[in-house]
Symmetry: C2
Subunit: 450 residues, 2 copies
Amino acid sequence: MEFKISKEFIAQIEQLISENKEKELHDLLLDIHFADIAEIMDELDSHEASYIFNALDSEKTAEILLELDEDVREKILRNLSPKEIAEELDELSTDDAADIIAELSQEKKEQVISELEDVEHAKDIVDLLRYDEDSAGGLMAKELVKVNENWNVLTCVKEMRAQAENVTRVHSIYVVDDENRLKGRLSLKDLLTTSTKTPISEVYIPKVDYVKVDTENVEVARIMQKYDLEAIPVVDELGRLVGRITIDDIIDVIKEEADKDYQLAAGISQDVEADDSILELTKARLPWLVLALFGGFISVHVLGLYEPAMEIHPELFFFTPLIAAMAGNVGVQSSAIIVQGLANNALSGSLFNRLLKELSLSLLNGLILAILLIAGSYFLLNIDVKTGITVSLALLSVIIMASLIGTFIPIILDKYGVDPALATGPFITTSNDIMGIIIFFSIAKAILGF
Amino acid sequence: MEFKISKEFIAQIEQLISENKEKELHDLLLDIHFADIAEIMDELDSHEASYIFNALDSEKTAEILLELDEDVREKILRNLSPKEIAEELDELSTDDAADIIAELSQEKKEQVISELEDVEHAKDIVDLLRYDEDSAGGLMAKELVKVNENWNVLTCVKEMRAQAENVTRVHSIYVVDDENRLKGRLSLKDLLTTSTKTPISEVYIPKVDYVKVDTENVEVARIMQKYDLEAIPVVDELGRLVGRITIDDIIDVIKEEADKDYQLAAGISQDVEADDSILELTKARLPWLVLALFGGFISVHVLGLYEPAMEIHPELFFFTPLIAAMAGNVGVQSSAIIVQGLANNALSGSLFNRLLKELSLSLLNGLILAILLIAGSYFLLNIDVKTGITVSLALLSVIIMASLIGTFIPIILDKYGVDPALATGPFITTSNDIMGIIIFFSIAKAILGF
């Protein structure tokens, strides 16, 4: 059922553009969903993308604008006059329009706003621009269906019909008092199943979940997921109903949050995509690499201190990368599990129990790996048993250390309000590398004596 | 507005349970949302959790069952008879009921099904159990609102009211023909804004997005996100309407998918949580560690081959962990960006362009890091310039190699239908470690000659 973009289809479009057949292009794209057209435009160069944009009707182009990759959208908007942009925004709901305006330069922003036709719409958009984009205010739309608690059902239905015209999806009908303070809600289901003569005060549900304008977006996402809500009303400091957040906006928040944790675990420090510029990618990647390099300097220095051991036990230096890598791997595993637990609010029990559990877990894993190491180094690498046992003991200690560090650094960071995902990735790997090498050589020195 | 679980509140509940005050407990929890009660029960021991469960009314307990952690739910269900479980399931929608039944043993499953009161409901649940849990069939619910294209609006509204009683949220009204084949949809908004005298055939929208029962769940998620759908109908092989998937089920799919990528990147091979048993956690973590250990054996072996260099250039062995770590870090960064690009369908352009870009990017990063390395090893570590330049050249080469491997292994895996996220984490780290060491010593040998 989904439209699949084929190479042939793209070639056909490019052909039509090069032959300047605007009418044919318009007809070809007539039945294609705006999300698919946006995908096609993302694949084309900016001249071709602009050509398509100009060939289409404005209800469709407004939606396409929303779906485009940010850099493609930027290029399209650059080619449009403030008046043309305003015409696109007039087609969009307030939250989407505000998101696009927020991407414009300050000067163009003001020009576009002054060109908006619908004054109410313009006022709502300007209002939304005030809020931090990571807050409930930044997520919400002004479009919603609300009724006054003092109305009777007949007035309600009439008013709602008018309001529903502006709302893409009606999730809930909110009930407010004369001061616009949120009092409760009416469900659509009740509307379908209740006789039309019932007065509002008798049918509305006085218990309603809501968030405040300054609630953080991840918190909004958590609440909507937990209580399984498809929309949630937003109130201001005085409890007045100012907007509504729908579940589709929350999906983006959830995805971004998960992507961010993943990127941090991989040592990428800001939100980047494969198609971003080399400079942006470098800015996101280099800081962690520089950190890791300086961590590497420390390990070089530490190893230098043990140079005297080289003559008697050169094999220790062959095992160093193995020990360091295992320390890094174990640390990343432990921290990833904790970071996810923290993100999903799924950590229960005391710190002491967690310590015990992590200790047992790393002991079990460490013992198995230590036995494999003794066997492997004896049979595969022809290392003598005494050295094998020494390295294995070191491995076991290093694994326990790494899993404890991996477990508790995220918990501590979280306690102090720092994003625990920071602790995964290069930070844990690097510090565990260094600690691993120190522990390894200390144990080796104690057993083998050099 | 959200209920916050405090330690005092939990203590109060434990107190009431120990004093066997069921009535007081019931009243205390009366106004608390089932999702919050489930969270409280997750914190308590299984005896206390069962006590709470028994003290509550059955509409609430059914919803609580759904929200509980899987292991807590398992314990509660173990204490219930098939008849009691069936009573809980009678309160739930078909998809949720099927999910819970699927967790039971084969024997108990059949007993519970035979105890279900509502025969239609039971039939629907049994039908849902047939589908793979990762397919559209496994996600969908049987509850939906549908009307026949041949009805008039009056019949429709009457029928819909009856149907809506069973549906928690009405997203769309689906239109079917006499054979139950999906023909289109009616939007609720149209319902609110159209005169009640209009015939169905005139108002329904013949274009409707749908998925097939065997569509993969991640594909369903992608389609619903792309087309911004809050619900999507599911049809069987003959195009007959068999169910409906709502956006809240899709959120779980999106989260699970993102969590899975993150876990793979951290070297955890199956879906585990911090609160799982030590055995389960070991099963998820040990395989990658064993793989990394064997990778480590290779690096020990390779380093052993270069033992002769030790006498003249011991410092090379001090730098080995640094080179290996940098190779691992760069590889993980590159692969993470590609894996996310693949997951979000956001990779455009040819393979050749991607190669060029990754080459330039790693050259830029590598050069900066190489200069830092020369400076750092000269000023901080007192390494002579020639060795410093040798190590830096090796670092530059290793970074280029690591970023190319990190970029193209996920792309190749994806081409052959393997989850590209597998390539991040220990797999890339380990292979880059080994490759890094080989490149490092080859370059050192060429320049320093040993």
